[in-house]
Amino acid sequence: MSTNCTVVRLRLPGVDSVDDLGERLAGHVETCLTCQAEAARYRTLRHRLGGLSKVTLRAPSTLVPSLVFRIEHSDEEAASDRGVVIRRAAIAASAAAGAAVAATAGTIIVIGLRRAHHAA
Protein backbone atom coordinates (compact mmCIF):
# COMPACT_ATOMS: atom_id res chain seq x y z
CA MET A 1 0.00 0.00 0.00
CA SER A 2 1.44 3.40 -1.04
CA THR A 3 1.41 6.63 0.94
CA ASN A 4 -1.39 7.84 -1.33
CA CYS A 5 -3.46 4.76 -0.42
CA THR A 6 -2.96 5.50 3.27
CA VAL A 7 -4.02 9.14 2.87
CA VAL A 8 -7.04 8.16 0.76
CA ARG A 9 -8.14 5.66 3.44
CA LEU A 10 -7.78 8.32 6.11
CA ARG A 11 -9.80 10.90 4.23
CA LEU A 12 -12.53 8.86 2.54
CA PRO A 13 -14.91 8.71 5.55
CA GLY A 14 -15.09 12.50 5.65
CA VAL A 15 -15.96 13.22 2.00
CA ASP A 16 -19.14 12.85 -0.02
CA SER A 17 -17.34 12.10 -3.28
CA VAL A 18 -13.86 11.04 -4.46
CA ASP A 19 -13.59 14.43 -6.19
CA ASP A 20 -13.62 16.07 -2.75
CA LEU A 21 -10.25 14.40 -2.05
CA GLY A 22 -8.53 16.88 -4.35
CA GLU A 23 -7.04 16.45 -7.80
CA ARG A 24 -3.93 14.49 -6.79
CA LEU A 25 -5.69 11.91 -4.60
CA ALA A 26 -8.68 11.59 -6.94
CA GLY A 27 -6.17 10.90 -9.73
CA HIS A 28 -4.56 8.22 -7.59
CA VAL A 29 -7.93 6.55 -6.95
CA GLU A 30 -8.51 6.36 -10.70
CA THR A 31 -5.42 4.19 -11.07
CA CYS A 32 -5.55 2.17 -7.80
CA LEU A 33 -7.91 -0.81 -7.58
CA THR A 34 -7.58 -1.05 -3.78
CA CYS A 35 -8.59 2.59 -3.30
CA GLN A 36 -11.40 2.21 -5.85
CA ALA A 37 -12.77 -0.72 -3.83
CA GLU A 38 -12.57 1.31 -0.63
CA ALA A 39 -14.24 4.32 -2.25
CA ALA A 40 -17.00 2.01 -3.54
CA ARG A 41 -17.65 0.77 0.02
CA TYR A 42 -18.13 4.31 1.32
CA ARG A 43 -20.32 5.14 -1.70
CA THR A 44 -22.45 2.08 -0.92
CA LEU A 45 -22.63 3.07 2.74
CA ARG A 46 -23.81 6.61 1.93
CA HIS A 47 -26.30 5.24 -0.59
CA ARG A 48 -27.75 2.77 1.92
CA LEU A 49 -27.98 5.44 4.61
CA GLY A 50 -29.74 7.73 2.14
CA GLY A 51 -32.14 4.88 1.37
CA LEU A 52 -33.26 4.84 5.00
CA SER A 53 -34.99 8.18 4.39
CA LYS A 54 -37.55 6.28 2.30
CA VAL A 55 -38.29 3.83 5.12
CA THR A 56 -40.89 5.23 7.50
CA LEU A 57 -41.84 3.35 10.64
CA ARG A 58 -45.43 3.19 11.76
CA ALA A 59 -45.96 5.06 15.01
CA PRO A 60 -47.73 3.06 17.74
CA SER A 61 -51.51 3.51 17.49
CA THR A 62 -51.65 4.94 21.02
CA LEU A 63 -49.51 7.95 20.11
CA VAL A 64 -52.28 10.21 18.79
CA PRO A 65 -54.94 9.51 21.47
CA SER A 66 -52.51 9.93 24.35
CA LEU A 67 -51.10 13.05 22.73
CA VAL A 68 -54.59 14.53 22.33
CA PHE A 69 -55.20 13.83 26.02
CA ARG A 70 -51.94 15.57 26.93
CA ILE A 71 -52.70 18.58 24.76
CA GLU A 72 -56.17 18.92 26.24
CA HIS A 73 -54.57 18.99 29.66
CA SER A 74 -51.46 20.94 28.66
CA ASP A 75 -52.88 24.23 29.94
CA GLU A 76 -53.38 22.65 33.36
CA GLU A 77 -49.89 21.14 33.13
CA ALA A 78 -48.37 24.53 32.27
CA ALA A 79 -50.32 26.18 35.09
CA SER A 80 -49.09 23.48 37.45
CA ASP A 81 -45.50 24.05 36.26
CA ARG A 82 -45.93 27.78 36.82
CA GLY A 83 -47.30 27.01 40.31
CA VAL A 84 -44.22 24.96 41.12
CA VAL A 85 -41.94 27.76 39.89
CA ILE A 86 -43.84 30.33 41.95
CA ARG A 87 -43.73 28.09 45.05
CA ARG A 88 -40.00 27.49 44.55
CA ALA A 89 -39.40 31.24 44.14
CA ALA A 90 -41.41 31.95 47.28
CA ILE A 91 -39.41 29.35 49.25
CA ALA A 92 -36.12 30.77 47.93
CA ALA A 93 -37.21 34.32 48.78
CA SER A 94 -38.27 33.40 52.31
CA ALA A 95 -35.01 31.47 52.82
CA ALA A 96 -33.02 34.50 51.64
CA ALA A 97 -35.03 36.80 53.93
CA GLY A 98 -34.45 34.41 56.84
CA ALA A 99 -30.72 34.35 56.14
CA ALA A 100 -30.61 38.15 56.02
CA VAL A 101 -32.42 38.42 59.37
CA ALA A 102 -30.07 35.85 60.89
CA ALA A 103 -27.01 37.67 59.53
CA THR A 104 -28.25 41.03 60.93
CA ALA A 105 -28.99 39.46 64.30
CA GLY A 106 -25.54 37.84 64.32
CA THR A 107 -23.87 41.18 63.59
CA ILE A 108 -25.78 42.90 66.40
CA ILE A 109 -24.79 40.16 68.84
CA VAL A 110 -21.11 40.34 67.80
CA ILE A 111 -21.09 44.15 68.16
CA GLY A 112 -22.82 43.84 71.54
CA LEU A 113 -20.29 41.26 72.73
CA ARG A 114 -17.36 43.43 71.56
CA ARG A 115 -18.76 46.43 73.40
CA ALA A 116 -19.28 44.36 76.53
CA HIS A 117 -15.70 43.05 76.20
CA HIS A 118 -14.27 46.60 75.83
CA ALA A 119 -16.36 47.86 78.77
CA ALA A 120 -15.02 45.04 80.93
Binding site: L49, L52, S53, L67, R70
Partner: protein, 192 residues
Amino acid sequence: MSSPEVERYEESELVERASRGDQAAFTELVRAHQNEVYTLAVRMVADRELAYDVAQEAFVRAWRAIARFRGDAKFSTWMHRITVNTAFTHRDRRKRTQTDSLDDIYREPESASLSPERGGESAAMRGPLEDALKELPESLRAVVVLKDVYEWSHTEIAEHLDISVTAAKVRLHRARKSLRLTLWRHQDEEES
Protein backbone atom coordinates in the same frame (compact mmCIF):
# COMPACT_ATOMS: atom_id res chain seq x y z
CA MET B 1 -53.72 10.24 6.32
CA SER B 2 -50.00 10.29 5.52
CA SER B 3 -47.86 13.33 4.96
CA PRO B 4 -47.83 13.36 1.13
CA GLU B 5 -51.64 13.18 1.12
CA VAL B 6 -51.91 16.49 2.87
CA GLU B 7 -51.70 19.13 0.20
CA ARG B 8 -49.42 22.04 0.97
CA TYR B 9 -52.23 24.59 0.95
CA GLU B 10 -54.34 22.34 3.14
CA GLU B 11 -51.44 21.95 5.54
CA SER B 12 -50.83 25.68 5.79
CA GLU B 13 -54.52 26.12 6.54
CA LEU B 14 -54.28 23.50 9.30
CA VAL B 15 -51.19 25.27 10.69
CA GLU B 16 -53.03 28.58 10.59
CA ARG B 17 -56.03 27.13 12.44
CA ALA B 18 -53.81 25.31 14.94
CA SER B 19 -51.89 28.52 15.65
CA ARG B 20 -55.21 30.08 16.66
CA GLY B 21 -55.72 27.28 19.19
CA ASP B 22 -57.74 24.82 17.07
CA GLN B 23 -56.86 21.44 18.62
CA ALA B 24 -58.68 19.46 15.92
CA ALA B 25 -56.52 21.08 13.23
CA PHE B 26 -53.38 20.32 15.21
CA THR B 27 -54.49 16.70 15.66
CA GLU B 28 -54.80 16.41 11.87
CA LEU B 29 -51.24 17.67 11.54
CA VAL B 30 -50.11 15.11 14.12
CA ARG B 31 -51.87 12.31 12.23
CA ALA B 32 -50.17 13.38 9.04
CA HIS B 33 -46.67 13.62 10.54
CA GLN B 34 -46.66 11.09 13.38
CA ASN B 35 -44.86 8.35 11.43
CA GLU B 36 -42.02 10.52 10.17
CA VAL B 37 -41.55 12.13 13.59
CA TYR B 38 -41.56 8.74 15.31
CA THR B 39 -39.12 7.34 12.70
CA LEU B 40 -36.70 10.22 13.25
CA ALA B 41 -36.99 9.75 17.02
CA VAL B 42 -36.24 6.01 16.73
CA ARG B 43 -33.20 6.75 14.58
CA MET B 44 -31.94 9.40 16.97
CA VAL B 45 -32.31 7.47 20.24
CA ALA B 46 -32.27 3.83 18.99
CA ASP B 47 -34.85 2.83 21.60
CA ARG B 48 -38.54 2.36 20.72
CA GLU B 49 -40.00 3.27 24.07
CA LEU B 50 -37.87 6.35 24.46
CA ALA B 51 -38.65 7.30 20.84
CA TYR B 52 -42.36 7.14 21.66
CA ASP B 53 -41.83 9.59 24.54
CA VAL B 54 -39.65 11.81 22.35
CA ALA B 55 -42.25 11.92 19.56
CA GLN B 56 -45.04 12.74 22.00
CA GLU B 57 -43.02 15.42 23.78
CA ALA B 58 -42.00 16.92 20.42
CA PHE B 59 -45.66 17.30 19.42
CA VAL B 60 -46.53 18.82 22.79
CA ARG B 61 -43.71 21.35 22.34
CA ALA B 62 -44.93 22.04 18.81
CA TRP B 63 -48.46 22.67 20.10
CA ARG B 64 -47.15 25.13 22.68
CA ALA B 65 -45.00 26.93 20.09
CA ILE B 66 -47.16 26.77 16.97
CA ALA B 67 -48.38 30.34 17.40
CA ARG B 68 -44.77 31.39 16.79
CA PHE B 69 -44.36 29.15 13.70
CA ARG B 70 -43.96 31.63 10.85
CA GLY B 71 -44.44 29.20 8.00
CA ASP B 72 -41.24 30.16 6.16
CA ALA B 73 -40.12 26.53 6.55
CA LYS B 74 -42.25 23.45 5.92
CA PHE B 75 -44.14 22.15 8.94
CA SER B 76 -42.29 18.82 8.61
CA THR B 77 -38.89 20.58 8.67
CA TRP B 78 -39.94 22.50 11.77
CA MET B 79 -41.14 19.26 13.41
CA HIS B 80 -37.84 17.55 12.57
CA ARG B 81 -35.93 20.28 14.36
CA ILE B 82 -38.14 20.09 17.42
CA THR B 83 -37.79 16.29 17.44
CA VAL B 84 -33.99 16.45 17.30
CA ASN B 85 -33.90 18.97 20.16
CA THR B 86 -36.35 16.87 22.19
CA ALA B 87 -34.31 13.72 21.59
CA PHE B 88 -31.28 15.45 23.06
CA THR B 89 -33.20 16.74 26.07
CA HIS B 90 -34.43 13.19 26.76
CA ARG B 91 -30.94 11.80 26.28
CA ASP B 92 -29.54 14.21 28.86
CA ARG B 93 -32.41 13.44 31.25
CA ARG B 94 -31.87 9.69 30.79
CA LYS B 95 -28.14 10.05 31.45
CA ARG B 96 -28.94 11.68 34.79
CA THR B 97 -31.34 8.89 35.84
CA GLN B 98 -29.69 5.90 34.16
CA THR B 99 -28.20 4.49 37.35
CA ASP B 100 -31.66 4.24 38.93
CA SER B 101 -33.25 2.20 36.15
CA LEU B 102 -33.57 -1.55 36.51
CA ASP B 103 -35.92 -1.71 33.50
CA ASP B 104 -33.01 -2.00 31.09
CA ILE B 105 -31.62 -4.98 32.96
CA TYR B 106 -34.91 -6.88 33.19
CA ARG B 107 -36.40 -5.79 29.84
CA GLU B 108 -38.39 -8.46 28.00
CA PRO B 109 -36.93 -9.85 24.79
CA GLU B 110 -38.23 -7.76 21.83
CA SER B 111 -40.13 -10.56 20.13
CA ALA B 112 -42.17 -11.28 23.26
CA SER B 113 -44.27 -8.12 23.04
CA LEU B 114 -44.54 -7.22 19.39
CA SER B 115 -47.69 -5.34 18.49
CA PRO B 116 -48.52 -5.15 14.75
CA GLU B 117 -46.89 -1.70 14.66
CA ARG B 118 -43.87 -2.91 16.48
CA GLY B 119 -43.60 -5.94 14.22
CA GLY B 120 -43.52 -3.62 11.21
CA GLU B 121 -41.00 -1.41 12.89
CA SER B 122 -38.83 -4.32 13.83
CA ALA B 123 -38.79 -5.53 10.23
CA ALA B 124 -37.89 -2.08 8.98
CA MET B 125 -35.10 -1.67 11.50
CA ARG B 126 -33.63 -5.11 10.89
CA GLY B 127 -30.51 -5.57 8.92
CA PRO B 128 -26.82 -5.02 9.37
CA LEU B 129 -26.94 -1.28 8.70
CA GLU B 130 -29.59 -0.63 11.35
CA ASP B 131 -27.77 -2.87 13.80
CA ALA B 132 -24.50 -1.06 13.13
CA LEU B 133 -26.24 2.31 13.60
CA LYS B 134 -27.66 1.18 16.95
CA GLU B 135 -24.18 0.20 18.09
CA LEU B 136 -22.75 3.66 17.44
CA PRO B 137 -22.37 6.05 20.37
CA GLU B 138 -25.32 8.48 20.40
CA SER B 139 -23.23 11.51 19.57
CA LEU B 140 -21.90 9.85 16.40
CA ARG B 141 -25.22 8.27 15.41
CA ALA B 142 -27.05 11.59 15.59
CA VAL B 143 -24.61 13.25 13.21
CA VAL B 144 -24.53 10.47 10.60
CA VAL B 145 -28.33 10.08 10.68
CA LEU B 146 -28.93 13.81 10.25
CA LYS B 147 -26.29 14.18 7.52
CA ASP B 148 -26.61 11.01 5.46
CA VAL B 149 -30.25 10.04 6.06
CA TYR B 150 -31.92 13.46 6.42
CA GLU B 151 -29.38 15.48 4.38
CA TRP B 152 -28.87 18.21 6.94
CA SER B 153 -25.86 20.47 6.37
CA HIS B 154 -22.91 20.48 8.76
CA THR B 155 -23.94 23.98 9.84
CA GLU B 156 -27.50 22.89 10.70
CA ILE B 157 -26.20 19.87 12.60
CA ALA B 158 -23.69 21.96 14.51
CA GLU B 159 -26.37 24.50 15.42
CA HIS B 160 -28.87 21.92 16.65
CA LEU B 161 -26.42 19.73 18.53
CA ASP B 162 -24.69 22.78 19.99
CA ILE B 163 -21.28 21.79 18.66
CA SER B 164 -18.83 23.41 16.23
CA VAL B 165 -18.93 22.66 12.49
CA THR B 166 -15.49 21.07 12.86
CA ALA B 167 -16.80 18.78 15.62
CA ALA B 168 -19.75 17.82 13.39
CA LYS B 169 -17.33 16.90 10.58
CA VAL B 170 -15.10 14.91 12.93
CA ARG B 171 -18.10 12.98 14.29
CA LEU B 172 -19.36 12.24 10.78
CA HIS B 173 -15.90 10.96 9.83
CA ARG B 174 -15.76 8.69 12.89
CA ALA B 175 -19.32 7.43 12.42
CA ARG B 176 -18.87 6.53 8.76
CA LYS B 177 -15.53 4.87 9.46
CA SER B 178 -17.05 2.82 12.27
CA LEU B 179 -20.02 1.77 10.08
CA ARG B 180 -17.71 0.85 7.21
CA LEU B 181 -15.53 -1.30 9.50
CA THR B 182 -18.56 -3.04 11.00
CA LEU B 183 -20.36 -3.70 7.72
CA TRP B 184 -17.35 -5.06 5.81
CA ARG B 185 -15.64 -6.72 8.75
CA HIS B 186 -15.91 -10.25 7.36
CA GLN B 187 -14.60 -9.17 3.97
CA ASP B 188 -11.65 -7.41 5.63
CA GLU B 189 -10.85 -10.53 7.64
CA GLU B 190 -10.91 -12.72 4.53
CA GLU B 191 -8.63 -10.30 2.67
CA SER B 192 -6.06 -10.06 5.48
